[in-house]
């Protein structure tokens, strides 16, 4: 499988019929993706971007309206069973039944993948321990806390050691400690050769955890690459100025400066893309003072994935995800 992508989609589309004549929603609007085996691939995008819909298509749950997807070497539409044998899928919410115990859910999942009772029981114990659920294993899932239930659902997806694991927002709802443990667990999966395809709208998660990223917005991929490559696209540094109601004038003034590569504004903040931030800040201050446009705040930072998102879509992911 090395070298060959474990996921490959061409022109993937999915439309949902709206209520009445309200028109159609194009949840996935032509996605071409290649995911290499053995990597942690992150799918980053705001609410409603089409992450879950894409994942459901790749996991054989939803037929695409157009386009094709090959997953673990098989076409999801033509050979769904071959795909299912080798993937795991953990939905954004749900997966375990509240009147069943965590252990029973893990065991039945293993058995549905062909494990014997004894093997499934050993595997269930392994997973309960790895996910810090050993104590709760014999309680019904309905008594679990939200974070415990989430961890169990993820555990259920890993029972059969899939070659490719889809995780839809695996860390949403986990406290920082549990999130860190989940990251570790996901990295451990990579070490054992599992490819992990996860969605997130946490920038930190995409940055710290993922080897490769695709940013999706309105059903389209707007950027692709490793976190570093993406950030490098935005060369230099970013200066953010609290404009005090003078955004227009400040942007006009800054665009005229040779050290400013680009200036934009959103929500009363002016953003300058500059080559050397340390040198730019004093110059900017001097210019603003000279024109009587005193800023309320000023901030210098290295480009983050949010800046990448902002640049590609004109919106901040932090706000759209809030």
């Amino acid at each position: 499988m090395n070298g060959q992508p474990i996921i490959e989609t061409v022109g993937l589309r999915r439309t949902f019929k709206g209520r009445g004549k309200a028109g159609e929603v194009e949840a996935v609007a032509g996605v071409d993706l290649q995911v290499q085996a053995g990597r942690i691939f992150g799918f980053l995008g705001p609410n409603g971007a089409g992450k879950t819909t894409t994942l459901r298509i790749l996991a054989t749950l939803l037929p695409p309206t157009a386009g094709t997807a090959r997953v673990v070497g098989f076409d999801v539409a033509k050979n769904p069973d071959r795909v299912r044998e080798r993937i795991g899928y953990v939905a954004q919410s749900g997966g375990s039944y509240r009147s069943s115990t965590g252990r029973d859910e893990l065991i039945i999942q293993g058995r549905l993948f062909g494990m014997s009772k004894a093997v499934a029981a050993v595997r269930a114990q392994e997973i309960l321990e790895a996910l810090d659920l050993a104590e709760a294993g014999d309680r019904t899932c309905g008594t679990y806390s939200g974070g415990m239930r989430r961890r169990l659902n993820i555990g259920i997806g890993m029972v059969h050691r899939p070659a490719l694991l889809f995780l839809d927002e695996p860390t949403t709802g986990l406290d920082p400690q549990a999130r860190a443990r989940m990251w570790e667990e996901i990295r451990r999966l990579r070490e054992t050769g599992t490819t992990v395809f996860l969605t997130t709208h946490y920038l930190e998660e995409a940055d710290a955890l993922c080897d490769d990223l695709a940013i999706i917005d309105h059903g389209r991929i707007v950027a692709e690459g490793s976190p570093d490559e993406l950030k490098r696209e935005i060369a230099g540094d970013i200066v953010t100025i609290g404009a005090n109601g003078h955004s227009d004038k400040i942007v006009e003034l800054m665009r005229a400066q040779s050290f400013v590569r680009e200036a934009s504004m959103e929500d009363g903040l002016v953003r300058l893309y500059v080559d050397r931030g340390e040198e730019a800040v004093p110059q900017v201050l001097r210019l603003l003072d000279g024109s009587g446009l005193a800023p309320s705040t000023m901030n210098l930072h290295r480009p983050s994935l949010d800046d990448v998102f902002l640049k590609k879509t004109g919106r901040s992911l932090r706000e759209s995800a809030a």
Partner: protein, 253 residues
């Protein structure tokens, strides 16, 4: 092979989940028990009326109660599936390579076991009221009850998969089950019905089920209704199971 194994796994899981929380099973048998206790005694005097089929009052009445229990027991099983869907269990299992027929059959067989258990309770309770036990007939009748379960529970599951919620499911199930019940001669034999009502009842599979089970309970083993009832239920069960399996394999939303 895979289908048999998966069916067993789902059957086993579903049965345990039901037994862990048996409220619905008990509720399901309480109502027919009330009929036995409070409605049954009225029959003693009606049984001598012209038009009432031969046989003891309870040998006519209990088959109706059993069919009613089987019908309602299996018509509402979709509610449990709605619950599983809401918790994401159905979607999770649809991503496994498990057999889609097994998703249906495992659950429907659980439903059959539950309704047979309820039927045993009802038959045993009826003996003190004067039900005469014709063992061979009762054994075959239990087979027919199983067919009712296998015919009705897939219908309920298909509706649940399509409608997705209990709120939408309840009125639809009632709209299907109530006319089936009223036109089956469950409470009183259809032989008391006017002609036009009898004609409508003729196309109701449950009418034939009741007639067949009554014949069996009265040891009229030569009655052609037994063959008709069995054939109608068996054919319909095959059709609804096939529809149910299809619904499980495409359930999308």
């Amino acid at each position: 092979m895979r289908t048999i194994r998966d069916t067993w796994l789902i059957f086993d899981r579903s049965l345990w989940l039901t037994l862990r929380n048996p409220v619905w099973v008990i509720m399901g048998v309480m109502q027919p028990i009330l009929y036995l206790l409070l409605f049954g005694p009225l029959l003693k005097n009606i049984a001598s009326m012209p038009g009432f089929p031969p046989g003891g009052a309870f040998n006519v009445f209990v088959p109706g109660i059993l069919v009613m229990t089987a019908l309602f027991g299996s018509a509402f099983v979709g509610f449990g599936l709605c619950d599983e869907m809401r918790e994401g269990v159905v979607e999770r299992m649809r991503v496994t390579p498990m057999s889609r027929v097994a998703m249906l059959l495992g659950r429907s067989l659980r439903d059959v076991v539950i309704l047979e258990a309820q039927a045993v309770i009802l038959v045993v309770l009826s003996v003190p009221f004067g039900l005469e036990l014709k063992i061979e007939g009762i054994v075959v009748a239990f087979g027919l009850l199983a067919l009712i379960g296998l015919m009705m529970s897939p219908v309920s599951y298909v509706l649940a998969l399509v409608l997705q919620s209990e709120d939408a499911l309840a009125p639809v199930v009632n709209a299907v089950a109530l006319p089936l019940l009223l036109l089956s001669g469950v409470m009183l034999p259809m032989s008391l019905a006017p002609d036009w009502l009898q004609k409508i009842a003729d196309v109701n599979p449950l009418y034939h089920a009741v007639a067949a089970i009554r014949a069996l309970f009265n040891a009229n083993y030569g009655d052609t209704e037994i063959l008709i009832g069995t054939a109608v239920l068996a054919v319909l069960a095959v059709i609804t199971i096939w529809m149910g399996a299809r619904a499980f394999s495409r359930a999308a939303a």
